[in-house]
């Protein structure tokens, strides 16, 4: 197996286009998959030295998260958490400190685990992914990026270079909630919501649930239910009853499908309440 450590994006893209090449970011998943033989790449292309892919850049209208930004960098960033509370909370409860020091934004998204903690908040926040190959660059809404477990719309030879978020407006709110059995654990269910409140009513909303389907799922029925409404106790109770109908969970070692449906309702209700309360506090 070859091991490449390119220093420029152009060099990385050339190497990624080689047949049998696999991109190595933080390695928290890929290294384990290689060790037990589930992956046998001919070459690893480490992104560890590619400066173009590093760090958080705050622009005038948007915020760019370089693909190899670590989860720890998200947590420690001075501004990011204020702009995107849902993203900060997801990063904060992502793995252990040791894993957060290695795991990257791009690695987590390209891994396309159904229980990713980053994907739901980023989708709810309207994030786009920048994809580059030797030939072309394109941008895709993150909500369209996932195809199934470990399957994305990345074409052969393509690399996710960054995640781009619009800066929130003054009435934008977001929240993320995750339910686990123990502190450091994969989500049984996670829910992220991002909404704009206009005079107490929901002007715009996205609600996304993770670990309850092959990809993170938009809760479109819930979004329609709360659009234009004030998030009062009765409406939130209705959200709690209905959100579970919109997801497609499986039963596995962590939880039953029924439990996951119930949790989806509870977390969605609470996430909306949390996000909305941020306005009055």
């Amino acid at each position: 197996m070859q091991y490449h450590r390119p220093t420029t994006l152009a060099e990385a893209l050339r190497l990624v286009a080689e047949p049998g090449a696999r991109v190595l970011a933080g390695g928290t998943d890929l290294v384990l998959r290689m060790r037990d033989g589930r992956e046998r790449p001919d070459a690893l292309v480490s992104l560890g030295r590619v400066a173009e892919l590093a760090g958080v850049t705050l622009g005038a209208g948007s915020v760019r998260l370089g693909a190899r930004t670590t989860l720890a960098e998200l947590v420690e960033h001075e501004e990011l958490g204020r702009l995107f509370p849902a993203l900060l909370e997801a990063a904060r409860v992502f793995g252990s400190m040791l894993v957060r020091n290695l795991a990257t934004v791009g690695g987590n998204l390209c891994n396309a685990s159904p229980c990713s903690d980053l994907a739901p908040p980023l989708i709810a926040l309207g994030a786009r992914v920048e994809l580059a190959s030797r030939e072309a660059r394109r941008e895709l809404p993150l909500g369209d990026f996932f195809v199934g477990p470990r399957e994305t719309r990345l074409a052969p030879g393509e690399l996710l270079t960054a995640v781009v978020l619009d800066r929130p407006g003054p009435r934008d709110r977001s929240a993320f909630l995750k339910h686990t059995r123990v502190t450091v654990d994969l989500a049984l269910v996670n829910v992220a919501v991002a909404l704009e409140l206009d005079r107490g009513k929901v002007a715009r909303v996205r609600a996304v649930a993770g670990a309850v389907g092959p990809t993170p799922l938009r809760l479109l029925g819930i979004e329609a239910l709360v659009a234009g409404q004030a998030l009062g106790p009765e409406l939130l109770a209705e959200v709690g009853r209905r959100a579970g109908d919109e997801v497609k969970p499986i039963s596995d070692v962590r939880a039953s499908a029924e439990y996951r449906r119930m949790l989806t309702g509870v977390l969605c209700k609470r996430a909306l309440a949390t996000a909305a309360a941020a306005e009055v506090s």
Partner: protein
């Protein structure tokens, strides 16, 4: 001092085709080792470099026993490819304390608070706590527990470990009287 270490006694200049030289700073001194693409940092630390204070527990980045600092950040060395060490600064448990084997303040706090039983997890605990204190010199007990959540100890109830880190974070400056 530049140490040139390699497995199997083969000179570095006759590196097997699948191994390359990896040069990095280890506990303050430059080192160079041969590493295969599949070698992890813990493999070269414990193997070629003979530093066995870093322990391998789960081998999957879940238990924290293998924690070392890379450029001042605690990471599990069992899932970090050795090649990623190139050009970086690695600190292992052997890099702590004084030249005569004196313990540093954090290590002393572990001893004084009984934060050690069988000792297997201890180097990883100390390295993770050190990384926490670097960023947050006076953490609350809750912050300590959050930071050490990825380090498993199967002997203690973690109470003494948290107390040790708390003491190190709230004690006198390093070198001062303690306990």
């Amino acid at each position: 001092m530049s140490a040139c270490a390699q497995g199997g006694g083969a000179p570095v200049s006759h590196a097997p085709a699948d191994k390359v030289r990896v040069a990095f700073t280890l506990n303050g001194a430059p080192v160079e080792v041969l590493a295969a693409a599949t070698d992890r940092l813990i493999d070269v630390l414990r193997g070629a470099l003979g530093l066995v204070g870093t322990r391998e527990g789960c081998g999957a980045g879940e238990c924290g026993s293998c924690t070392v600092e890379v450029d001042g950040r605690a990471v599990p060395s069992c899932i970090l490819p050795a090649r990623e060490a190139e050009g970086r600064s690695i600190t292992t448990i052997e890099g702590l304390g004084g030249p005569g084997g004196e313990l540093d303040r954090l290590q002393r706090a572990f001893v004084e608070h009984g934060g050690v039983q069988c000792g297997f997890c201890t180097p990883g605990m100390v390295m993770a706590a050190r990384s926490l204190l670097r960023r947050n010199p006076h953490p609350s007990p809750a912050e300590i527990r959050t930071a050490l959540a990825g380090n498993l100890c199967r002997c203690t109830g973690y109470v003494q470990i948290v107390a040790a880190v708390d003491a190190a974070g709230h004690g006198a400056d390093d070198g001062g009287a303690h306990g």
